[in-house]
């Protein structure tokens, strides 16, 4: 089989789901940058779930749940998406081929571990990766994986395996594509609405594990690492950095992407407060990176050197304070 959506253009993005949606909507005539997709779907969050374990480590999320970007866009800008899951892997492959045959570009959820083009040292069992398939030649799929600089390929067997792994966040072969893409977006309504929602959620969440309270909760746990086994303590700290930097976040756990969104939003609406908030968010992102750097130093430390958990915890608390000012500023913008 030979099929290819010839006019499709690969875009290099920071995050898989926002990258896929940005590419897909652009392909259908709605030019929406990755930061706009991220911001308008209300994807910025913080959550620390000590009771949900991933590879023995608690879940630390800097953005909303998988598929939340797709759902957020449907709700906020009126895109209509079709999502299809499969119980039989072969049926899933057949359907993907049929959609490609129709000339569509198709989003897919996959595992990272089984994608052959991923660098060996980046392959972990994470099942909520997203990519776009835009063609097939013989048994090789042409793939636009947004976190890669150029488009990539995977053979039929490999992609099928990656789409049908079982376990936490199992993709179940999920495919998605738009059935309706609006020609324009009512920015004057939707930008204020989504920004206010994000700011309120971060500032005033009722649960102690989310938003700024979640960041402070994590800081408290960092201080308590003093009493834990040193190896575990180091792994815990390293895990925070991985969630913040290794997973495609655009740097500083999505804070730079959000700052970029605020800049774009400020230009669209001619709103100077948003530009100011964008600059503040950039400074906050820099602070998150200083926090990561402190952790890197402690991971490197020798056994004889004490790790100053209080200092690391205190740094994170100061990041939370700084970030709180950004959201307070945002609430005064409209």
């Amino acid at each position: 089989m030979n099929t290819k959506s010839s006019d499709f253009k690969h875009q290099h993005a920071a995050h898989c789901e926002s990258g896929v949606m940005s590419s897909m909507l652009s392909h259908h005539g709605l030019k929406l940058s990755e930061p706009m997709v991220f911001g308008l779907s209300g994807a910025l969050v913080f959550a620390y779930l000590p009771f949900v374990k991933l590879g023995g480590m608690p879940l630390i999320a800097y953005r909303s749940m998988p598929k939340a970007i797709i759902k957020g866009l449907q709700k906020n800008i009126g895109v209509k998406m079709r999502l299809e899951k499969f119980s039989d892997p072969q049926a899933g492959t057949k359907r993907l081929d049929a959609l490609l045959e129709e000339g569509r570009v198709v989003g897919a959820q996959t595992s990272v571990f089984w994608l052959p083009y991923f660098p060996e040292e980046m392959r972990f069992h994470f099942n909520a990766h997203n990519l776009l398939v835009y063609g097939k030649e013989e048994s090789i799929y042409q793939i636009s994986d947004p976190v890669f600089e150029h488009s990539v390929e995977a053979d039929e067997k490999a992609l099928q395996k990656a789409r049908f792994v079982k376990g936490m966040m199992a993709p179940k072969g999920l495919l998605y594509y738009p059935s309706h893409v609006p020609s324009n977006v009512d920015y004057t309504t939707v930008i204020p609405k989504t920004i206010k929602k994000t700011a309120k959620m971060m500032l005033k969440t009722p649960v102690p594990i989310a938003g700024l309270r979640g960041i402070r909760f994590l800081a408290k746990h960092i201080r308590k690492l003093e009493a834990k086994d040193r190896r575990y303590a180091k792994l815990f700290l390293g895990h925070i950095v991985r969630m913040q930097e290794e997973i495609g976040t655009g740097g500083a756990g999505f804070r730079y992407i959000y700052a970029s969104f605020l800049e774009e939003a400020s230009e669209i609406l001619g709103n100077d407060v948003l530009m100011e908030a964008s600059k503040m968010m950039t400074v906050t992102g820099d602070a998150w990176r200083e926090f990561a750097l402190m952790i890197a130093k402690s991971i490197r430390s020798k056994k004889s050197e004490a790790i100053d958990f209080d200092a690391i915890g205190a740094k994170l608390e100061s990041v939370a304070d700084q970030e709180a000012e950004v959201y307070k500023k945002l609430l005064t913008a409209f």
Partner: protein, 135 residues
């Protein structure tokens, strides 16, 4: 972060790939920059990989000494743990754990072995063996 401050540390974990980072230009406007990686990220990734390797190494010795079945080693070698493996094969953790016992593992049917083979991406023959040290 300013574009000129975006780390370009050519980190080994990227294997020559570059990631997109959002950074500001001279005028303070955001754009996407390709980064060859930040040493801080490399250290965190390596730490996680080393931990997985350490577990696989310990498992290797436990299998060699006859204490555990080869499945125990292959689980860690494929960067899984008990939770991930049991979810991947769709069996309860206690059942998977039982299969770490060499005598129980030796009696497993091909049907059960096929489930492990699929989840771990290994042939049934390879599943029953411990690879030689060099590999």
């Amino acid at each position: 972060m300013e574009i000129k401050k975006v780390p370009q540390d050519h980190i080994s974990t990227y294997a020559e790939n570059r990631k997109a980072i959002y950074a500001t230009d001279d005028k303070g406007h955001y754009g996407v920059v390709a980064s060859s990686g930040w040493h801080v990220e490399e250290e965190a990734t390596k730490q996680a990989l080393n931990e997985l390797e350490r577990l696989a190494g310990e498992a290797y010795e436990a299998v060699e000494s006859g204490e555990k079945s080869p499945l125990f080693y292959h689980m860690y070698a494929q960067r899984m743990d008990l939770i991930v493996l049991s979810q991947s094969v769709g069996m309860f953790q206690w059942r998977v754990k039982r299969h770490f016992t060499p005598s129980v593992f030796a009696k497993l049917s091909d049907r059960v072995l096929a489930r492990y083979s699929e989840a771990l991406g290994l042939s049934i023959d390879d599943l029953k063996l411990l690879p030689s040290r060099e590999s």
